[in-house]
């Protein structure tokens, strides 16, 4: 699959049972109204807030080598921390990204080129 045609997978987040506010989770209480949160899925489309290339990982991520971590603002209205596949120096805050899969417990995003 070429990056340009990457189709979005859904992203696991949480939704407040009372006010509907989305939360990246895992967490028990809604940050807004303190009611309970329940698992929810949202569309994996959004924009890149920022990214960085981790070249000195913590011991538990050593086998991953160098990898890019991204902060993504999903269009659904929630910000998540995940990975960015195939980053290059042209990747800038504000660019469109889609969720394309999962690595361990984290969502992997790709730039829409």
């Amino acid at each position: 699959m070429s990056p340009g045609s990457a189709s979005a997978v859904q992203v696991d987040v949480m939704r407040c049972s009372q006010c509907g506010t989305l939360d990246p989770g895992p967490r028990d209480l809604c940050a807004k109204c303190h009611a309970g949160l329940a698992p929810a899925k949202v569309a994996g489309e959004g924009s890149l807030v920022s990214w960085t290339m981790i070249r000195r990982p913590p011991a538990s991520f050593k086998e991953d080598g160098a990898y890019a971590v991204a902060i993504v603002r999903l269009d659904a209205g929630v910000q998540v921390t995940g990975r960015l596949a195939e980053p290059d120096e042209a990747a800038k805050p504000g660019m469109r990204v889609v969720a394309t899969g999962q690595h361990r417990e984290t969502t992997v995003f790709s730039l829409v080129r």
Partner: protein, 387 residues
Amino acid sequence: MREVMITGIGSTPFGRLEGRSVQSLAVEAANMALARSGIDRSEIGALYLGNFVAGPLSGQEVLAGMVCDELGLAGIPCTKVEGACASGGIAFRHAVMAVRSGACEAAVVVGTEKMTHASGGQVTQALNCAMDNRSDGPSGLTFPGLFGLAWRVHAERYGTTRDDVSAVVVKNKRNGLKNPLAQMGAELSPDVIRQSLPIADPIQLYDCCPVSDGAAALVIVAADRAKAAPDLPIRIRAAVQTSGPARISGHEDLCSFRTTRLAAERAFKEARISPADLDLAELHDCFSMAEIIHTEDLGLVPRGQGAKWAAEGRTAVDGDIAVNASGGLLSKGHPVGATGVGQIFEVVRQLRGEHGNQVSGARLGLTQNVGGAGVACTVSILERGDA
């Protein structure tokens, strides 16, 4: 509440201190502070100890009790506090509250850490305990990475360049040359910084503080008990602690920490001064980009101008406000639980006019100590006791 002063101070050097234990460093610094406090050990009513990673890196907890016992302070309430890299600053505020409230006449605060015996991967793993390991940890993010994320946003929004950021590194490394306690003072060129090892793009090696061992301590006393001290007492005008989200999604802006903004606002109000009244600030430059963000959040420089002020020399020792004249974490070192106490130690020496990198005529100084991704912050404002 009554006025409180700092009398005795003590510190080990910061750096690679081979063969020393985390307790032994704390005992050395606290014993030094007690000897210059003008207060008998029998009158110390409480001890607060700041430490973050002695559990994972040294397999040792109950440090507060061990240190108290060795200092001959046995029987008093002794408390270890943990707020990641703000542990020292938080310990300070608790000691201030204990004396201010009248619960005791004098209290000891000590921050201590031993890190250099562990491998880089172990240290990174231990420091990552300060992250929200439910939401951010699974991505493999690190603390240099957090400031790499902030850098890209700052660059996009304000046009901040590699060389702008390097001005902070050049300044702090140079300041460290004049601080005998500093781990790695250096005269660096922007070229050397630009060619250094990439760590978490755009963060490079010289943008990062070193891994350090060290301890610092202070004795806090009620103002009317400060007269017996051999050195000039330093008045505590404000000691503020705030909390914020541990996770990145809780931050509305990667280039600003709400915890710092709130702490600054409360501290300036408590001290009844404005940022322009300050002569110096020791703030939490764990990374070059962190100093830039913190100077802006504290209101010391206009938003977006943190790097440019450094480049123009306005945060140098002889500038508008001296920022990290000690060399900061970048140069003095960052034994994480000791850092917040070490910052106050540095400001006390400046206000007494006895610092190796003296800010001329210093009367008012601020410290800012941050934990995790802005999960905790302390801001303290100190003044010469004869002012």
